[in-house]
């Protein structure tokens, strides 16, 4: 375990290094720098030049890179938003929490959908139940997330009016009251369900094959012979060992969630990180863009690191290089 941890950790370092390089290069190619938005057009160019030297903007790129990295690691400083003239970290904070809520509800819904469907499709093999579940997964694999999102918004948001069509919470509610939280969940439900309907598909596939494999094992036969009820067999003996590795899918889910939020938050005008990213691009607010790419990149890299470890811990048969 420790050997694996160290090996995997050593491999994490070049990954993070390359990610930061890419992000830094993106930042350099973007128009504008730390002075953009601060410069008064009446200033003479000499003063601007001294400021540039003071801020190190004329240094060679590798010096700038290590400066940037240094500020990032030691102070968590990601620069200022051109658009709003506030620190990027401050701008991101509120959006980050919204996205976290969305992500959490999505994950819960994903498991609520995937676990029963996965188990049933394995348990009731070659019946109409399996056929319908397989049909659902086939459709889900072909359905792009943004199309499902649009269709759901059109149908349940606009035509039927069951759910709000934008925002994260009703405006004139007291923060912290019960109605406030209810409204939040009401706003969250449709976007979260859209992602969950699609991200559950691969989990269902995995669970199905896992259940089919497990139910032929001798210990299940034994339980049957002993006269344990079918439902008890599936709950206790089949589901449990199949569930454990699911935890490690978490890393993968995270990656999918992140790209999913870009589409879904835009469609549902939900104020999260994904929609902030698109807005910042539109407004050419590039310090924010860089910060978000970095943050999402970090999340996926660390997510895959954790899920590799978890996978190994839970199932030592799996070889992790």
């Amino acid at each position: 375990m420790w050997r694996l941890f160290i090996r995997r950790f050593v491999y994490l370092i070049p990954q993070l290094f390359f990610l930061s390089m890419i992000v830094f290069w993106l930042a350099r190619f973007m128009p504008g720098d730390a002075l953009t938005g601060w410069i008064d057009p009446n200033l003479d160019s000499e003063m601007i030049e001294t400021q540039r030297i003071r801020l190190g903007l004329n240094n060679p790129w590798y010096v700038q890179y290590f400066d940037w990295l240094n500020r990032l690691v030691t102070e968590g400083d990601l620069g200022q938003s051109f658009q709003y003239q506030v620190a990027v970290t401050q701008l991101i904070r509120s959006r980050l929490f919204n996205s976290l809520y969305l992500g959490t509800v999505t994950l819960i819904l994903t498991y609520i959908i995937a676990i029963p469907l996965g188990v049933w499709s394995g348990r009731f093999q070659k019946t109409w139940i399996e056929r319908w579940i397989v049909r659902y997964t086939n459709l889900g694999l072909a359905m792009p997330l943004y199309i499902l999102g649009l269709l759901m918004l059109f149908l349940f948001g606009f035509k039927l009016g069951w759910f709000p069509t934008s925002g994260s919470v009703d405006v004139n509610l007291e923060v912290g009251s019960l109605a406030y939280y209810a409204s939040r969940i009401h706003h969250l439900f449709l976007p979260a369900l859209s992602i969950a309907l699609i991200s559950s598909v691969s989990l269902i596939h995995y669970l199905r094959s896992e259940v089919i494999r497990t139910k032929q094992q001798p210990f299940i036969q034994t339980a049957r012979v002993k006269g344990v009820k079918q439902s008890a067999i599936y709950h206790r003996h089949v589901l449990k060992p199949s569930l454990i590795p699911i935890a490690s899918f978490f890393g993968l889910e995270l990656t999918r969630l992140i790209s999913g939020t870009i589409f879904i938050e835009t469609i549902y005008s939900y104020p999260g990180m994904g929609s902030l990213f698109i807005e910042s691009i539109m407004q050419r607010d590039f310090t924010v863009v860089v910060a978000i790419v970095l943050l999402f990149g970090l999340t996926t890299i660390i997510g895959s690191f954790l899920s590799d470890l978890l996978l190994y811990k839970l199932d030592p048969r799996i070889q992790v290089r």
Partner: protein, 288 residues
């Protein structure tokens, strides 16, 4: 075929117990036929001309799918958009198929350290938040066109193909015929192209169909967000982006709904065909 009596042709065998794939094939042929031939009859400059006397008309006999805010015919845009979307999807698939295929072949055949480094490169690419990077690229490069867009898509889409090809090469490499060739001193290049390549062809083709379905969806998604095709070349995603505005989404369904459904059915059909090809190769293997 009558002349052969009871015996079914290869083509019929392929589809004998797969109605879904059969329907998918004809659907795809029909769609590509209409979009290819239809595009000749559509005058692009005429189509994109604004005509304020007939804005946002609902579907009618004259305009099958109505008109948009500039009075442009939606059906004709759909035909043109399908052609552009399919063209880019194929271009990206071919590019990533070649890169992924060569990468996987080399990585699998070389083995050892080289393989390890090559696989870490793939791992790294796969952890990048690539949709964001593509969006940033499109926003930054002022003169991007269909070709450069396809190349950027390819940069992030060749890895799954390389993985699949490599895995198959690793299996084939252990077979006697490769071992024998090696012992006889056949040059590595010849082993790879003449012996390994034909044997990994099946998984390669299957992974390319999956890639086609995937990048079809991605291109439309990026165009939907406004970071795909240049505006002078409408794709299916461009039509879909009408739905970004809530009033279009709610009241003018004919602007975006046909494109949405078309994208879904095209992807579904490609996947069905891919599944069929996969089963076909498996059966052939099992039958030998």
């Amino acid at each position: 075929m009558r002349g052969r009596g009871e015996k079914k042709t290869n083509f019929q065998m392929l589809f004998s117990n797969n109605r879904g794939a059969y329907v998918s094939l004809w659907f795809l042929l029909f769609i590509s036929g209409v979009s290819l031939i239809g595009a000749f009859f559509i005058d692009t400059s005429q189509l994109m001309r604004v005509d304020l006397t007939r804005i946002t008309e609902p579907p009618s006999a004259q305009y099958w799918l109505g008109t948009d805010h500039g009075g442009r015919d939606v059906f004709n845009q759909l035909v043109l958009g399908t052609r552009h979307s399919l063209a880019v999807a194929f271009l990206v698939t071919i590019l990533s198929g070649v890169i992924g295929g060569v990468f996987g072949l080399l990585s699998g055949y070389m083995g050892g350290r080289i393989d390890y480094v090559m696989m870490r490169i793939i791992d790294f690419f796969q952890t990048l938040p690539f949709i964001m990077i593509v969006i940033v690229f499109v926003a930054l490069v002022p003169t991007y066109n269909v070709l450069s867009f396809s190349i950027v898509m390819t940069v992030f889409l060749w890895m799954p193909i390389a993985r699949v090809v490599r895995a198959q090469v690793l299996k084939e490499k252990e077979m006697m015929y490769i071992q024998a060739s090696k012992t006889l001193g056949t040059p590595a290049f010849k082993i790879m192209t003449k012996q390994l390549l034909p044997n990994v062809m099946s998984v390669w083709i299957v992974s390319m169909t999956l890639n086609l379905a995937l990048n079809m969806g991605l291109e439309s998604g990026l165009s939907f967000l406004g970071f795909g095709f240049p505006p002078d070349a409408p794709s299916l995603g461009t039509l879909l982006s009408y739905a970004q505005s809530p009033s279009n989404l709610e009241y003018y369904w004919w602007l975006w709904l046909p494109a949405a459904l078309l994208i879904f059915f095209i992807i579904l059909s490609i996947r069905q065909l891919g599944e069929m090809i996969h089963l076909h190769f498996n059966e052939k293997k099992g039958g030998e």
